[in-house]
């Protein structure tokens, strides 16, 4: 009897523990936040007296700029463009999809904001303009009209007076100024964003509530593309933007490369410093262009106190003068240009002296200065972690459960509901995004109908796992294969020229001929990918189509290696020179590349080259690359928009070689290539840029420092029958068939399909291949 009682009590205790632990986890998960805003349209005057999140202070509108809107601007409005959506689209239904990691925050900028989920939020932030997916022309979005200013550095926009935030507040010029101030703030702890908006945007001018000008530091082609940025809601963040921040030892930010002044620990990043450095670099490059030398600073400074802010303004003015000078260099005569430049350089030397003079004494460094910098209130990141901002797009987060799912709801009062280019798009009422951490499991969800579509671009899914699933054979789900001619990320093998072995071009050529990329594609990628011939694939006219990848050829590889002196073979079939084996460390980070690397290793051994695969997590690999400690690395560069063309400065200019924390992973520097890159960077002529890009690709191919590997010019997906995709979805700009949100969910077809599945009725097997934009091999 006692025995049974003991068992019973043990059992009871176990049950209690289980219940507690289960309810505990439940309690941990069941934080359902409701982010829906009450929709109430309000006037602009009302906007500035909005009380938000308990902050009582009304926010003040930003002052209007002193500048006058230039006369005679040529305003464009994209009226000649045709809508591209299919008018037969039906509204309603829920789009079910998945993410593999739950976001750490709902902010789109700031600490930890970069995640796969951010895309869903970014797509719901409208820009000033959009690009027409068929004609590549600009079409109005938040702006109704736009015009490029006479200085070719400013684009003026007239904001659509109908444009509203999802909470009903009108979109005004202040929202862009707020964006710039917010993104430049050091307090958001997002160096990439702060750097970008400091370096690539000079200013945003407010002419009135609905007219702004966005100015970039220098003339550039496709200036509209780089100025059509999205705003952030000023009425939402306004109370968290501080006008003045007290910074310890402000002067410490004015540094020179070789004359480092102490930088406070809490803020080792600051925009002014970058601006100063970029100015310095600019003037130096200007001098080298005109083949003159910068005068050495000689005079002692008189020690008079210098106002850093005034100094910065002067520096900026000089920069502007210098830019104008380059702009007119071609037209004015050389001697005149030289004379002007001398003046600027003399001024510059003067700055150097003045800046050196304000190097702080230890007491000064400790003392507090207050200068006017815009920064966010302390704790901004934390405050907005789980508070979604209002947006201008169709969907808003309506509910989410931590670590489980996020539900987006379509805004019934979306301002662009009847907009020419937004009608019949964004058709589903809800977007339900659940966390499924593994694609294999997500595929099972899809087969059960819990997800509406699943990407099949990976060859192993298309050719193996999803090749003949019963749902497809019975016609309940449909396959689509979309070819597209768009810029591709460049997966390339970069060789570090600082490595003793790889310094020799013949060795590099030998390696290039010993990489059996075709076999790798055939075996590990099931023959699906294409071998890339250049590091800039898919940029249409920017891509040099004459280049051909070096073919796998052991004889050629042997020839080059023997030329380099690696002619003796060791017992294990690996070449030896002066007692050193031809063994190269091959760094990679993404586990998906493992199979690829194993095949390359196996094949390269035939030529007597040993690859030693090394792998770490992506952060460590990036650190290695930044420190230039690698020998050979397989990595990918993200693609840019096909209108802007590829970029080469960061990765191949000698400015970025041989110094840490830069992206020239090859440590490559060549005067001629440098010159080409500089011309390419500073050119405003699209045709010239196209020619230069091709030339640069050829040079890099010639130097054999970065070997392009493969690219995938298509995307494939499988979707349930009820996901209706119009033919219009195959635009030249569609990377995925679901891009531009032209699809819709047909509830009737859904019901029909579900009934058919119950009754065992089948439909014809359907596969659609969209080949209109298939790029030539």
């Amino acid at each position: 009897m006692t025995k049974w009682l003991t068992y019973l009590s043990v059992l009871l205790v176990l049950i209690v523990i289980t219940v507690i632990s289960i309810s505990g986890t439940k309690a941990g998960f069941l934080i359902v936040e409701n982010c829906e805003y009450e929709y109430r349209p309000c006037s602009i005057e009302e906007k500035f007296t909005l009380l938000f999140h308990g902050h009582k202070e009304p926010i003040k509108p930003f002052p209007v700029t002193d500048e006058i809107l230039p006369e005679g601007l040529e305003w464009k409005n994209g009226a000649d463009q045709q809508p591209f959506a299919d008018p037969s689209a039906k509204r309603g239904g829920t789009w079910n999809t998945f993410i593999i990691t739950f976001p750490q925050t709902l902010r789109q900028r700031g600490m930890n904001a970069n995640s796969g989920f951010r895309l869903y939020l970014d797509l719901n932030d409208q820009d000033l303009l959009d690009i027409h997916p068929v004609t590549d022309a600009f079409i109005p979005a938040l702006a109704r009209e736009w015009a490029i200013g006479p200085d070719k550095r400013t684009v003026y926009y007239r904001i659509d007076p109908d444009a509203q935030w999802s909470d009903g507040v009108p979109v005004t010029a202040d929202d862009w100024i707020c964006m710039l101030k917010l993104f430049r703030s050091p307090g958001i702890v997002d160096p990439y964003t702060s750097n970008y908006f400091t370096e690539y945007v000079e200013d945003i001018l407010k002419f009135d509530d609905h007219t702004i000008g966005v100015r970039v530091p220098k003339r550039q082609p496709n200036i509209v593309l780089s100025t059509m940025m999205a705003p952030v809601p000023y009425h939402f963040y306004g109370n968290f933007l501080q006008k003045e921040t007290s910074v310890r030892g402000t002067t410490a930010y004015y540094t020179f490369k070789n004359n480092k002044l102490p930088i406070p620990e809490d803020l080792n990043y600051y925009p002014i410093q970058d601006k100063q450095e970029s100015l310095e670099a600019f003037v130096v490059s200007l001098a080298s262009k005109l083949q003159t030398k910068l005068p050495e600073p000689e005079a002692e400074s008189d020690g008079a106190p210098v106002d850093p802010v005034a100094l910065l303004k002067e520096v900026t003015d000089t920069l502007t003068a210098a830019i104008q000078l380059t702009d007119t260099l071609a037209e004015t005569d050389h001697a005149e240009a030289l004379r002007q430049l001398e003046g600027i350089m003399a001024k510059f030397v003067h700055f150097q002296l003045q800046l050196a003079a304000i190097a702080p004494t230890p007491e000064q460094a400790k003392a507090s200065h207050t200068i006017t910098i815009d920064d966010v209130a302390p704790g901004w990141n934390k405050t907005f972690n789980w508070r979604a901002k209002p947006n201008t797009g169709p969907y808003q987060i309506s509910k989410f459960m931590h670590g489980k799912w996020v539900l987006f709801k379509r805004n019934a009062n979306w301002w662009a509901n009847d907009h020419k280019f937004y009608k019949y798009r964004y058709n589903t009422d809800y977007r339900h995004i659940r966390l499924i951490s593994k694609p294999e499991i997500a595929f099972e969800y899809f087969k059960q109908g819990a997800l509406d579509s699943f990407g099949l671009t990976l060859a192993e899914y298309w050719h193996k796992k999803a090749a003949d699933i019963s749902q497809y054979e019975n016609g309940y789900v449909q396959k689509r294969w979309l070819w597209s001619d768009l810029p591709r990320p460049s997966w390339q093998i970069s060789m570090n020229l600082e490595t003793e072995v790889l310094k020799d071009k013949n060795v590099r050529l030998g390696i290039a001929h010993a990489l059996n990329i075709q076999k790798m594609i055939d075996l590990a990628m099931l023959g699906d990918a294409r071998q890339a011939n250049t590091i800039s694939t898919g940029y249409r006219e920017y891509t040099n189509t004459d280049l051909r990848a070096r073919a796998f050829d052991i004889e050629k590889a042997t020839g080059y290696l023997e030329k380099a002196g690696w002619s003796r073979m060791g017992a294990d079939g690996i070449r030896i020179k002066d007692g050193q084996r031809l063994s190269i460390k091959f760094l990679y980070s993404s586990p998906e590349q493992k199979g690829n690397i194993m095949i390359l290793k196996e094949e390269a051994a035939k030529a007597g080259i040993e690859f030693k695969p090394e792998t770490y997590d992506s952060n460590t690999v990036f650190k290695f690359l930044q420190d230039k400690k690698h020998e050979m690395v397989w990595h990918g560069w993200g693609q840019r928009h096909h209108l802007t063309g590829p970029t080469y400065y960061g990765s191949y200019h000698s400015d970025n070689a041989k110094i840490p924390n830069t992206n020239n992973f090859c440590n490559f520097g060549d005067d001629e290539v440098d010159r080409l890159i500089e011309t390419y960077r500073n050119s405003n002529d699209v045709e010239e840029r196209k020619k230069l890009a091709k030339e640069l690709q050829a040079r890099i191919h010639e130097a054999c420092i970065a070997i392009p590997t493969y690219y995938i010019p298509f995307s494939r997906s499988i979707a349930w029958r009820w996901v209706r995709i119009p033919d219009a979805a195959e635009t030249p700009s569609s990377e995925l068939i679901f891009d531009f949100s032209l699809y819709w969910i047909d509830e009737e077809v859904k019901q029909e399909t579900l009934n058919a599945m119950k009754e065992g009725k089948t439909f014809p097997r359907t596969i659609r291949v969209y080949e209109k934009n298939k790029p030539a091999e």
Binding site: K465, G595, I599, T615, T766, I767
Partner: protein
């Protein structure tokens, strides 16, 4: 050379072990398997065992032993390439041409790291053939506008039939491929076309070497430290105990994860870390046993006869306590195999490229539609662990002090 003399009690234990048939046979099976895996290159290799080419006999297999001499190149056998001869192709060629040259391949003519290539060209030809067929079939259809609906249906039907044929073709050509005796992939291939049987055998070899070395180190340290703690006691014991307590509180798996992200994955690092956190178990056992033995009368007698500490430890204590540890050896080995496999599964184990069971298991669980991957590795693991445990059980029974003991 002095012959090792076993005490009568040890002999009795051996006899007892022999009499437990399942343990005894498992031991032999394991031993044979291990020895076979050590010479695995003879059975599993892409180099031929013997080549007879133009009257001369070559033994390429010997060239797979590192340091012997250089490989035979394609040129050596009349081919026009200068890298290592492709023996499988040579064999097919010579067989087809009915020449006097011949060669003998090992049982499984693939090496563990080698990907079995796919004839992509033939595939593309077949695909193009089907595409041509489709074009012809479509051209035959009626173009009558009245039958537009029918035409669309028919077109879709034909296209879908062609696509089905192509997808079948591709699915059957691409790795992973199921077991096939004709291609000599007896357990199929993995995702990039490597032979699973070869990877299993060489993976086993790595695992067993790893666990034996690990056990040796663990027991070496365990016996030394445990014995000193138990025999000398006092501050040595106190210090040792505290050290063990501290070390056993360190989350071992995190240390491995962190170390492998910082220093990369290597055999030595993994072994070092596993030794660092693995010696405590045997130390505790040894310490207790030494304490117990130390207090016995015969030790006292030896001491009073003037025996030194070293003599007492090595001649009296270790021989009488070691039997305790012997019973744990098989379980230590199975434990090491499991840890190595699970670390590899998580991606923190051996460096990439080395055949390993954990890697295979990961690939298998990610590709459940290719069940031969996961079933081979799970089967092999179950078999080995089962055998090891049978041996362990038999040893435990044979060394059971309740069965044969000199003490009452």
């Amino acid at each position: 050379m002095k012959r090792i003399k076993f005490s009568p009690i040890t002999k009795m234990r051996f006899a007892r072990f022999k009499s437990i048939k399942r343990g005894y046979y498992s031991f032999w099976i394991l031993l044979v398997l291990t020895l076979l895996s050590f010479v695995g290159e003879v059975f599993i290799n892409n180099k031929a065992l013997i080549v007879k080419y133009e009257g001369k006999v070559y033994f390429p297999i010997l060239r797979s032993i590192p340091g012997i001499s250089k490989q035979y190149k394609g040129k050596d056998f009349g081919e026009d390439y200068t890298y290592e001869a492709k023996y499988r192709e040579l064999q097919d060629k010579w067989k087809a041409s009915d020449s006097d040259n011949w060669l003998l391949m090992p049982l499984i003519p693939y090496s563990a790291g080698e990907s079995d290539p796919i004839d992509m060209k033939a595939l593309r030809v077949q695909e193009a053939k089907l595409a041509n067929q489709l074009v012809q079939d479509l051209a035959k259809l009626s173009r009558d506008p009245a039958d537009a609906v029918l035409l669309a249906e028919k077109t879709n039907e034909l296209q879908s039939a062609k696509e089905k044929e192509v997808s079948r073709l591709f699915k059957e050509a691409f790795h992973p491929l199921p077991p096939n005796a004709a291609t000599k992939h007896f357990l199929g291939t993995d995702k990039i076309g490597r032979d699973i049987f070869a990877r299993l055998i060489f993976g086993y070899r790595i695992a067993i070497i790893f666990s034996l070395v690990l056990m040796l180190f663990n027991y070496g340290i365990g016996v030394t430290v445990g014995c000193s703690m138990g025999y000398f006691g006092k501050w040595i014991d106190l210090l040792g105990q505290r050290l063990i307590e501290i070390l056993s509180r360190v989350p071992f798996i995190y240390v491995i994860m962190i170390a492998s992200t910082i220093y990369g994955r290597s055999f030595g690092l993994l072994l070092g870390l596993m030794v660092l956190f693995g010696w405590m178990g045997s130390t505790w056992q040894m310490r207790t046993a030494t304490y117990r033995e130390k207090a016995r009368d015969y030790i006292m007698a030896a001491r009073s006869l003037g025996a030194s500490d070293a003599r007492i430890i090595f001649v009296h204590i270790i021989p009488s306590t070691i039997s305790l540890l012997v019973t744990f050896i098989p379980f230590a080995i199975s434990g090491a195999i499991i840890s190595l496999t699970s670390l590899d599964f998580l991606g923190f184990g051996l460096p990439p490229g080395i055949p390993s069971w954990g890697e295979l298991m990961k690939m298998g669980t990610e590709n459940m539609d290719s069940p031969w991957i996961v079933s081979s590795v799970v089967g092999a693991m179950v078999l080995i662990l089962f055998l090891v445990n049978l041996v362990g059980e038999a040893i435990r029974e044979a060394f059971d002090p309740k069965k044969f003991t000199t003490f009452e």
